[in-house]
């Protein structure tokens, strides 16, 4: 078995998880704090879209923006010498955009579930909004946020459609696990894909177990015995 798809996949999923994690929390905080319902619904819709669109359509949009003949892609290529499409960066870009809604929605749900009275209490006690966010909201929302991060990692690991569109299927460069499975089966080598499938199933299962762990841990502050 060629180990390169496994390494590429893990690398892609890890890097994209870190990026999605912070982007997602930031977006969640921004949207949760919006005053106008209409604006919030609109922005929320746009941010969640990659979750429901076919990944190929998302890939299509990425190509529209980052293609070498498109303004952004051209700017990056000509001024910074960076070519995004069909590079490893493209696998990360695709994974970030596809897994972002999962992180964003988990984080938003978790932040919005924090008791409003606690936030108000913080304000009357003279705590700054920043302090309230870091000392009260984040710790209480952490289980939800963590499980969102794990979910985003799993989704990034399984990303196929958008990656194929923008990063292609270049062996040892952009060929991730799902692409490797596809390539082997397409070439008629069922046996060769067994190993990849096993790795994907194994990692995904571990991830789901981790999520459950975070959920159970989430009751830490409300359960009398668990915190002793």
């Amino acid at each position: 078995m060629n180990w390169s798809p496994i390494l590429i996949s893990l690398k892609t999923a890890s890097v994209s998880m870190v990026i999605t994690f912070f982007l997602g929390i930031y977006a969640a905080k921004l949207v949760a704090g919006m005053k106008s319902d209409k604006v919030r619904i609109f922005i929320d819709g746009i941010l969640t879209l990659p979750l429901v669109l076919p990944p190929t359509v998302v890939g299509f949009f990425i190509l529209l923006v980052f293609g070498v003949k498109r303004p952004v892609g051209r700017f990056l290529l000509e001024f910074l010498g960076v070519k995004i499409v069909f590079s490893w960066t493209a696998t990360v870009l695709a994974a970030v955009i596809i897994s972002f809604p999962l992180m964003y929605r988990s984080a938003r749900g978790a932040l919005e579930q924090v008791d409003k009275n606690l936030i108000m209490a913080g304000r009357t006690l003279g705590m700054s909004e920043r302090k309230i966010f870091w000392r009260v909201m984040m710790p209480l929302a952490l289980p939800g946020i963590a499980s969102g991060g794990v979910l985003a990692f799993a989704r990034a690991l399984g990303e196929f459609g958008a990656t194929a569109m923008v990063a292609g299927n270049i062996a040892n460069k952009t060929r991730t696990l799902p692409l490797a499975v596809y390539a082997e089966v397409a070439a008629g080598n069922m046996e060769a894909s067994y190993g990849y499938v096993a790795v994907v199933v194994f990692i995904s299962f571990i991830v789901l177990s981790l999520m459950n762990y975070f959920t159970i841990k989430g009751s830490k502050y409300t359960d009398k015995d668990a915190s002793k």
């Binding site: 108000m120 209490a121 913080g122 009357t124 006690l125 003279g126 700054s128 000392r135 409300t222």
Partner: protein, 345 residues
Amino acid sequence: MSLEVKIKKRYKDFSLDVSLETKGEYLGILGASGSGKSLTLKCIAGVETPDEGKIVLKGRVLFDSENNINIKPQSRNIGYMFQNYALFPNMTAEENIGVGLKLAKKEKKKRVKELLSLFRLEDMGHKYPAQLSGGQQQRVALARIIAYEPDVLLLDEPFSALDSKLKSELHTEFLDMLNLYKGEVIIVTHSKEEVYRISENLALIENGTITGFGKTKEIFEHPKSLSEAKMIGCKNISPCEILSDNRILCKDWGLVLETEGIPINCKYAGIPSENFEIVNEPGINTIECKLVNVIEEINGYLIVFKNNKRNENSILYFNINKETWNKKKSQNPLYLKIKDFYLLI
């Protein structure tokens, strides 16, 4: 006149229109749930913003819609104790108390320690709120607010999160602790007993407006309006008509009452259910009663009756102790003399 509040806030199906003034004493705000009590406190503390109005605390304008002033809650210096105490569950008692203090680390530690012992929480410093009893949580919440030395203390239903068995015990203890605070206190509650025990002044709130204001004792002893009488729990209230200088007719009961000093705009009469007395013969302010029901309660009987002389259907309630009732219940007909009643507008 240290706190002046005059605010309005509208919602789809509720509107708040409250004006209040405090004079440096404890003020109780009594009202049913959903009457706007908590919302009023939240507006004062600045965690909710009124649509219009003005809030002035010790000469400092906190909110003024006309001049676009809205001081943020962080700078209002108002202590607000939330209904469920709103302790941060992820922080220990110690951390909860110290979290709003803007002191150097060492001083902060010292101050927190002082407060812990002041509120008899010495051994509780390292415990999380979920590990504390209701009473301890209440004390941590109070300590946390007092640590901050607020100009006014707002208490939102301080006892509602405790079970009733503990309540009376904790009342006294809480009042002791509250005395550690030398400023002004506003306490919001739906409990008559709490407000009567704790506050000298009383404001009644109903559907978002203040319907009564005065000394607590005076309101409880002699309510002056229909809503005041209802709020203190007067069970017998009837619309009335002035017959002459000293006589009124209570329409629901078909009963004529004689008394001095009837206000010209008197519209209702109220009789507290304890204010009847069994007498032997008819006379002024006396009803010949027709029993409807006798309900046995813990400390006595609740007698439900009508005026036997009239066909009106409205019933009256009379609370009597068991001994007296057992002695006199065989009397027939039963005459009840009204000892004292309220004339309401």
